[in-house]
Symmetry: C4
C-alpha cells in the first residue's frame, strides 16, 4: 500500500460501498413507508440486493486476501521466518485480517436474509465488528510515525469508529433511515479520506509534504471537515434522486417488475402514510 | 479573533441562540401537552419560528464566511501561497469551516420543516454535527499553547461536546423538553464562557493574567461551574416566564392569532393533560 | 479538609445519604408494584420524604457554604486579594461551589414534587450535574500530587462519575429500582471511600503511608473493590429489611397511617402483581 | 500465575463458561420463541441450569479464594507484615478479590431465580460488575511492565470490558439473544486469549519472545483479531448445533422430559412464531 494506488483502491471501494448503501437503504425505507403496518416481509428485489452485496463482499475479501498473500513480494501464507527469527510481511497479514472480517460480515448478511434462525441484527453486528477490527488494527499501526502521517491516519479512525458505533446502534434501533444513511456517509467519508491520505503521503505531482509542519496538520484537520461536508452533500443528493425516481417510477408504471406491491390505491395511500411518518 | 471583541461576538450569538432555543422549545412543549394525543402537526406559528431560525443561520453563516474571507487581512479565498510554500490564514479558513456547518444545519432545518421526505431528526443530527465540527477544530487548535490558554479552551469544549452529545440524543429521544432545554443551556454556557475566555486572555482593564500560575487554572475551573449554575438559572427563569405567559395568554384571549387550536374546553382539558404528563 | 475529620464528615454525609436513598427508593418501588396499573400519583408519605430530602439538602448546603466562607481561616467571601495579586483560599471556594450544586439539586427536587410544570426527570438531571461538578472539580484538584494521594482521589472519581452517569440514565429510564439502588450504592461507596482517603492520608495512629511505594497503590486499588463489595452487601441488606418490614407492616395493620392505599384484597392482588413484575 | 499453567487454568474456565452461556442462552431463546406471548415463566429445566451455574460459581470462587490464600507460598490470610512493613502477597489477594465478585454474581443469580423480590436484571448487573472489577484490577496491574507484556494484558482488557459493557446493556435490553451470544463470545475470547498470553510470556518450547520488538506487538494485535474470528465461529457453530438439536428433539419426542410445554400443535405454531420473530 506504500503508494498512491494502494490508497486509491480501498478508497474507491469504500466510496462505491457508501453509494450502494445509500441506494439500498433508501429503497428499503421507501418499501417500509409504502407498506401497511404489520406487513414486514422484504420483497424479492430487496432480498436480491442483499444477496448481491453479501456475495460481492465474500468474493472481494477472498480475492483481497489472495492478492495480499500471493502477490510477488507477499508472504505466500508464511507467517514466521525461523531462519531470521522474524515475522514475514506483517502488513500483508494485517490487511488479510481486515478482509477476513468483511468477508465474515458478507456471510452473516446472506445467512440472515436466507433464514430466520440467525438472530435479528446479526448482520449489523458483523459489519460493526468488521469496522471495529479495521480501526483497531489501524490504531496500533499508527504508532511511531511522523506527526502528519500519524495524524491523517488518526482522522481516518474517526470515520471508521463512528461508522462502527452507528452500525452497532442499528442492532438495537432498526430500520432508522437516518442511522442507515449516517453509516453510508461514514463509508463515503472513509473512502474519500483514503484518497486524501494518498495525496498527502504520496503526492502525484511529486512535491513532498513536510510531515512535521504544524500548519500542515491544521490544514489536514480542517480538510477532514470538508470531506465530511462533501460526503453529506453527496449522500443527500443520491438519496433524493433515488427517492424521487422510485416515487415517480412506481406512480407511472402500475406493474413494477421490482416486485413491490402495487394496488391501484397506492399513490394516495402512500401519501397518507408519508403524512404520518413523522409520528414514528 | 485575537482580541476581546473577537470573543464577545460569538459569545453574544451563542447566548442569544440559547435564549431563542429556550423560548422555542417551551412553546413547542406547551403545544404538545395542550394537544390531544394523536394530533402531531405543528401550528403555523411554530413552523414560522423554525423558518426564521433556519433562515437566520444560513444568512449569518454566509455573512460570517464572507467576513472571514474578505476582511482586510483575510485570505481572500486563497488557500495556498505557492511562493512562500505556506497556507494562507488558516485561522480564518477554520472559522469559515465552522460557519459552513452551522449553515448546513440551517438548510436541513428548513428542509425538514418544509417536506416530510427529510428523515425525522435530520435537523438535530445536522446541529449535532455542527457542534461536533466546532469542537473538533478547537481540539486541534489548542495544541501547544500556554497552560491557562489551553485550559480555558478545553473548558469550552466541555460545553460544545456536551451540547453535541445531547443534540445527538435528541435524534432518538424526540420531544423531550429536558433534553431540549439542556441543549439550550449548553449554548448559553458556551456563549457566556466565550466572554470569560475574552476576559482572561484579553482583559479589558489591561492587567494581564499569569498564563502559567496554577491558582489561575484552579479559579478558572471553578468559574466554569459558576457559569454553568448561572446558565441553569437563566434557562429555568426564561422557560418559566415563557410558560406562564403562554398559559395566561391562551387562557384569556380565546382566539389566539398564533394559530394554536383553541376550543372552548381548552383550559380544563389542558389541565387534565398536564396532570397526566408525568406518566410519559 | 487537611485532616482526618475533614474527610470523615463528608464521608458520613454520603454514607447516610446512600442509606436514605436505599430506603426511599425501596418504599417507592413497593408503592409502584402494589398499585394497579394506571394509577401513578405518589402517596403523601412519599411526597413528604422528598420534601425532607430536598429541604435537608438546601439547608445543609447553605450551612456548608457559610462554614467554608466564614470559618476562622476562611475567605470571608473575599475572592481576590489585590494587594498580593492572588486568589483567596480557593479550596474553600471550590467546596462552596460543590455545595451550591447540591443545594440546587435540592431546590429542583422540591419544585418537581410541588408542581407538574417542572419537566419530568429534572430532579435527577440536577443531582447528576451536582455529582458531575463534584467530580469535575476533583479532577483538576488532583493534579501534581504525590502518586498515592492522586490515586486515592482518582478512585473516588470512579464512584462519583459512575453515580453521575447512572443518575443521568435515570432521566430516561425512570422508576427502575436497580438503577436507583445502584445510585444509592455509589453514594455509599463514595462515603466509605472518603473515610479510607482520610485513613491513608491522615492515619489516626500516626504511621504515615509511603506515598510513592507501588505496593501501596496496588493495595489501595484492591481495597476500593472491597469497599464496593461491602457497599453492595449493605445496600442489599438495607433494601431487604425495608422491603420485608413494609410487606409485613402493610399486611398486619389494615389502616396504615403512611397513607398508602389499602384495600382488603391487597395482599393477594399484590402477590399477583409481584408475580408479573418480571415482565416489565 | 507466573507460568503457563497459571494462565491455562483461568483460560479453560472462561472458555467453558463461554460455551455454557452459549448453550444456556440458545435454550432460553428457543423457549421464548416457542411460547405464546404473555407466558413468561421459565420451565424447571432452565431454572435448574441457572442453579447449577450459580452454585458452580459460588463453589469455584470459594475454592479459588482458599487456594490463593492457603497455597504453600500464599499469604495465609495475612494482609500486612508489620515486621517488614510490607503487604503480604498482594497478587494472591488481588486474585481472591476477583473470585469474590464472581462468587457474588453466583449468589445474586441464584437469588434472582429463587425469588421475585430481587430486582429484574440484578444477576446481569452483578456479572457485569464482576467483569468490571476483573478489568479494573488488571488495569492497574499492567503498569510498568515490558511493552509486549503490557500489550497482551491490555488486549485482554478489551475482551473483559466489552463483556462487562454488553452485560450491563443486558440489564436494560433483556432477552436479546444477540447480546447474550456476544457476552458468551467475549468470555470465549477472554479464555482463548489467556492461553495466548501464557504462550507469549511462558512459551512451552522455551524460545523466549522478545518483549520489546515492535513486530511482536504488531503480530499480537493481529492475533487477537484471529482469536475474535475463531470465537465468533465457535459460538455460531455451537449455537447452531444446540438450536438444531433442540428443534429436532422436541419435534420427534412429544413428551419431552426437560419440561418444556408441548402441545400437539407445537411444531406448526412454533414456525408461525419464528416467522414473526423479526418483527420484535
Amino acid at each position: 500500500m506504500a503508494n498512491f494506488g494502494g490508497h486509491a483502491i480501498p478508497g474507491t471501494f469504500f466510496l462505491l460501498y457508501g453509494l450502494w448503501l445509500t441506494v439500498k437503504h433508501v429503497l428499503q425505507h421507501y418499501w417500509r413507508t409504502s407498506q401497511p403496518k404489520g406487513r414486514q416481509g422484504m420483497p424479492p428485489f430487496l432480498r436480491r440486493m442483499e444477496y448481491v452485496e453479501g456475495g460481492f463482499k465474500i468474493f472481494a475479501s477472498f480475492v483481497g486476501m489472495m492478492v495480499e498473500q500471493f502477490v510477488v513480494d507477499g508472504p505466500h501464507a508464511r507467517l514466521y521466518d525461523r531462519e531470521n527469527s522474524s515475522w514475514v510481511k506483517l502488513m500483508n497479514w494485517q490487511h488479510s485480517t481486515m478482509y477476513l472480517f468483511f468477508g465474515i460480515s458478507g456471510i452473516v448478511l446472506i445467512a440472515s436474509v436466507r433464514t430466520k434462525r440467525v438472530p435479528v441484527g446479526a448482520d449489523r453486528l458483523a459489519l460493526s465488528l468488521a469496522l471495529f477490527v479495521e480501526g483497531f488494527l489501524f490504531l496500533y499501526h499508527v504508532h511511531g510515525r511522523e506527526p502528519l502521517d500519524a495524524h491523517v491516519h488518526t482522522l481516518l479512525l474517526y470515520a471508521v469508529f463512528a461508522g462502527s458505533a452507528s452500525t452497532m446502534l442499528e442492532v438495537f434501533i432498526r430500520n432508522n433511515i437516518l442511522l442507515e444513511l449516517f453509516k453510508a456517509d461514514m463509508f463515503m467519508l472513509q473512502g474519500s479520506w483514503f484518497y486524501q491520505v494518498g495525496v498527502v503521503l504520496y503526492p502525484l505531482n511529486g512535491d513532498k509534504w513536510d510531515l512535521k509542519q504544524h500548519d500542515n496538520m491544521m490544514f489536514v484537520t480542517m480538510c477532514f471537515c470538508w470531506h465530511l461536508a462533501l460526503s453529506l452533500i453527496l449522500v443527500s443528493f443520491t438519496a433524493s434522486i433515488v427517492w424521487l425516481t422510485t416515487t415517480r417510477f412506481s406512480a407511472k408504471g402500475r406493474d413494477v417488475e421490482i416486485g413491490m406491491r402495487n394496488t391501484s390505491s397506492k399513490t394516495s395511500s402512500q401519501k397518507a402514510l408519508l403524512e404520518e411518518s413523522d409520528e414514528e
